[in-house]
Each structure stands twice: as structure tokens, then as C-alpha cells.
Symmetry: C2
Subunit: 110 residues, 2 copies
């Protein structure tokens, strides 16, 4: 049965937690993949960040618990997407500023 | 002789470092005091965050080394201000989003 992993409701998303979730380069790279707002499979090959699967799971958990992402579970398949609307409602302009910087990095590094 | 403590040049300010500097509630409260963009004395009574002077110095150092603040030294007197222009140039919209959230908190808590 499909379900969602536990995440904070939008009104409980804390600025300090979001900042901490986004204070690590691997997690910022995950967010840049998720920038399109769509669900992505949680498989390592989807993100290409060069970390072990268990480390990747840890990073996904940090993002989810901070309120940055939603994780959907369908059988054994996890997928993840950014909570764009929730973050924009809670901290207007914050996610856009982060995604703008991440997009300009990709433009530089190819 | 007046001087400034070492800080990263604007082009070297890293998003992950800024996010980490702003991922702690005491430092967010320091930033809310500094939101006016003016220099503030680094004395504890200026900030009223309820931490020991040495802890406060640590937080000031984290903010400065991340590129969030400038520390000015005149004899034994330290003063600090936000690098608003530099942060706005480097990550447009980011600081405004953070200050907006901090201002709305103050409106709630009085």
C-alpha cells in the first residue's frame, strides 16, 4: 500500500532546521536534482552524488525531517520530491534564492 | 588602530557555509538584532540572547567566517554588522527571506 513517511506539517517547519538541512553540499546537490518539483526515485543512480546508499538514505531523512522534502513509499520503492509550495508558503523567497544559486552553479560546472 | 577581522571576500562566500551559520537559533537571534544593517557593539547586553560571553564570541566567529557579518575592532572594542550588500549580491533574495521570517517571529513574540 502506498504511503508517505512522517514529515512535519507546514506550520511546524522551522527556519533553523531548513537551514541546517541545506548546509551540506551533498544535500544541496540532491535539492538541485529535485528542483523540478517532481517525484524522483530514491535510487543512487538518480542523483549521482557519489555517496553510499546508506549515506544517501541519511541525507534524505534529514531533508524530510526538516520539512524540505516529501518521501513516498510504494512497496519497497521510495520516491522523493521537494515541498516547494509548503516552503514557499512558510518562508517566501527562501527556496527560490537557494535554487537560483544551485542553477547558476550547474551553469558554471556544466 | 581600527581594523577588521578576517572574513571571506564576497566571491568566496559559500551557500553551505551561510546556511550552516544560520542554522542555529541563537545565531538567528543575533542576525535579527543586526537586521538594521548598522554596526552593533559585541557586548552581550546589546543582544540579550542569554548565552555566556565566550559562547557569544563563538557565534560571532561562525557568522564572520561564513561571510554573514563584518567585525570591526577599535582598540578592545568589537562591533559587528551584517554584510547585507555582499549577501544580496552573492545570493539574491536569501537574506531578505531570512529577515522576513525573523521579523514575523518578533511580531508574534512581542
Amino acid at each position: 500500500m502506498a504511503r508517505y513517511l512522517v514529515q512535519p506539517p507546514v506550520e511546524d517547519i522551522r527556519l533553523a532546521d531548513v537551514m541546517r538541512a541545506l548546509s551540506e553540499d551533498v544535500r544541496l546537490r540532491l535539492v538541485s536534482v529535485l528542483a523540478d518539483g517532481e517525484f524522483h526515485s530514491c535510487k543512487p543512480e538518480e542523483f549521482e552524488v557519489g555517496v553510499h546508499k546508506s549515506t544517501l538514505s541519511h541525507h534524505f531523512k534529514v531533508l524530510r525531517e526538516a520539512g524540505v522534502t516529501t518521501t513516498h513509499l510504494d512497496g519497497r520503492n521510495h520516491s522523493i520530491r521537494l515541498r516547494r509550495e509548503d516552503l514557499n508558503a512558510r518562508f517566501p523567497g527562501l527556496l527560490d534564492a537557494v535554487l537560483h544559486e544551485l542553477a547558476s552553479r550547474q551553469a558554471v560546472t556544466g
